[in-house]
Symmetry: C2
Subunit: 144 residues, 2 copies
DNA sequence: TCAAAATAGGACAATTTTGTCCTATTTAAT
DNA sequence: ATTAAATAGGACAAAATTGTCCTATTTTGA
């Protein structure tokens, strides 16, 4: 569904949000370890998220990544996905047609639209905060 | 969502079903042209579909690909997707975790399960016949 | 029998995605 | 000032996906 880069990106963002919520800055090493992701590849993705203003990066010793506390509640999963994978996941044609639309639809257009609408809805209504809430109490996991 | 190979495979299968319904055998060239797919790559995918008993191939002059009429109504989209992409699309974890499940879920497990269930449902309840019905009357398209 | 037309399949090539490595830069602390 | 620890970013490498090409095989029809 999502690219590997996007999966790592979501996991990383969630971990950073969790740490930021506790007032801690997260280092690349920690992020990679706690989300079971390849370090250098994750670094690239964090750069991308940083450029897209989803996370903040702080250079230098004691630097790392963080998310302004007040934003954690407002950042949607959809923004992270969009920053990394674009909107093709919930916009493109299920059969890969360039110009598939309600006027000249592919044979499964309507059915895919329904699924994709649900997906978009879900992504746009899930905040980073919501994703961290289960982690703190050990109900959900970012690796395994 | 699906791989290119899978998209081509679905389009090809649909076209073959359409032709078979009219008693015609479809040649690789026709299939590729009518679904706007790369010829040689499509050939590989058709081999795969043939090995998975979804379509029949007939070698030799006047050969081609076909689907037994009585099967068109029973072949589900899910079978085509499974033959080419496996079941990861509607089984795997949205965040890419190996062992994500209801017991040790990722932060979006439940939400993804809902979407994926809908997707699987849709794929399992859409037959090839259903996909061809709009094509005949020009309501739907396989290229563009 | 032979030629033509079609699929089968192996080998290879191009592209994209995933991932690594090295150096530069920034910053904190001593 | 210097050193150490961290991110930034470019270059490269590996793997997966997408795609091509060539030859072999099968089958029909003249």
């Amino acid at each position: 569904m999502f690219s590997k880069a996007c999966e790592y990106g979501i996991r990383a963002s969630t971990y950073i949000a969790l740490q930021s919520h506790e007032g801690k800055r997260a280092s690349l090493k920690d992020i990679a370890r706690e989300t079971d992701s390849p370090v250098a590849f994750t670094a690239k993705i964090l750069q991308q998220l940083s450029k897209n203003k989803i996370i903040d990066s702080v250079q230098g010793a004691a630097g790392g990544f963080e998310i302004v506390k007040s934003k954690i509640n407002h950042i949607k999963l959809s923004e992270i996905v969009y920053a990394i994978d674009g909107d093709n996941v919930y916009m493109g044609c299920g059969l890969g047609l360039e110009k598939c639309n309600a006027n000249k639809p592919c044979p499964v257009h309507d059915k895919f639209v329904a699924i994709r609408d649900d997906l978009r809805d879900m992504l746009e209504n899930t905040t980073l905060y919501e994703m961290t809430s289960g982690l703190e109490v050990g109900l959900t996991y970012l690796k395994r």
